[in-house]
Symmetry: C2
Subunit: 114 residues, 2 copies
DNA sequence: TCGTCATATCGTCATATTGCAATAAGTTTA
DNA sequence: TAAACTTATTGCAATATGACGATATGACGA
């Protein structure tokens, strides 16, 4: 049976989110359930690549899949994932701001010297 | 100059967190600033491996490094990282619970059939 | 200045990940 | 049942990652 320890799961979730295409997929699916046929034209990737990315998100328990006739529909399973991404963005933003401030201080220093 | 787009940064942050050793390092450092010489004996990994992991966390802006004499001290730079990990754990927990519940339902069904 | 301590960095191997084209599998339609 | 659709899966090449031992670097003490 598949081991489902919290530690393994959190690595799985974090790894699933560590890819730009997959983050874009989540953003796309934030608009609601979509079938692969709708997703494909929205992304500049091969069908197999998109399918695999969707599967990785599904395996991580982030997406849910539903089959309807010949279509496979994916949707966000746990919206908490967006809180998580928001948190990451906050952290990233702090760094961008710090970087910008460092630039200003450098600029000021150079001006004072001149 | 290093490009610092939010998108790149969030992938960097998420990738940095997608490794069990690095998550353990963060937990270890939640106790406060520690030098590498203290960290090493607490982990079953080679010195070069730990050093690299610390550097990845540093590059992602999660750790801060301070040199004091011949020692290198690392500490958590942005404690928000723990909120983030907590959020991941919540998501992981939901899945574990769902998994357990599914097991119970299965069990109940089997009992009813017998 | 030499040796030692503490740590980073390099070179290398094994493994994982990502991307694509090709193919398979399951549904619907003719 | 065959053909057409839709999507997953497979097989590979290219690249990234993680681990380790070996080596380099930088600070301190003798």
């Amino acid at each position: 049976m598949t081991q489902k320890s919290i530690s393994d799961l959190r690595i799985k979730i974090l790894s699933a989110l560590s890819d730009p295409t997959r983050l874009e997929l989540l953003e796309y699916l934030s608009g609601g359930e979509r079938c692969v046929c709708e997703i494909l034209p929205a992304f500049q990737r091969s069908q197999s690549t998109i399918s695999k990315h969707l599967n990785i998100l599904h395996e991580a328990g982030i997406l849910e899949r539903r089959i309807d006739g010949k279509r496979n529909l994916y949707r966000i399973k746990d919206p908490q994932v967006f809180d998580l991404i928001k948190k990451v963005d906050e952290m990233a933003l702090v760094q961008v701001v710090q970087f910008a401030e460092a630039g200003k201080i450098l600029e000021k220093t150079l001006l004072q010297r001149s």
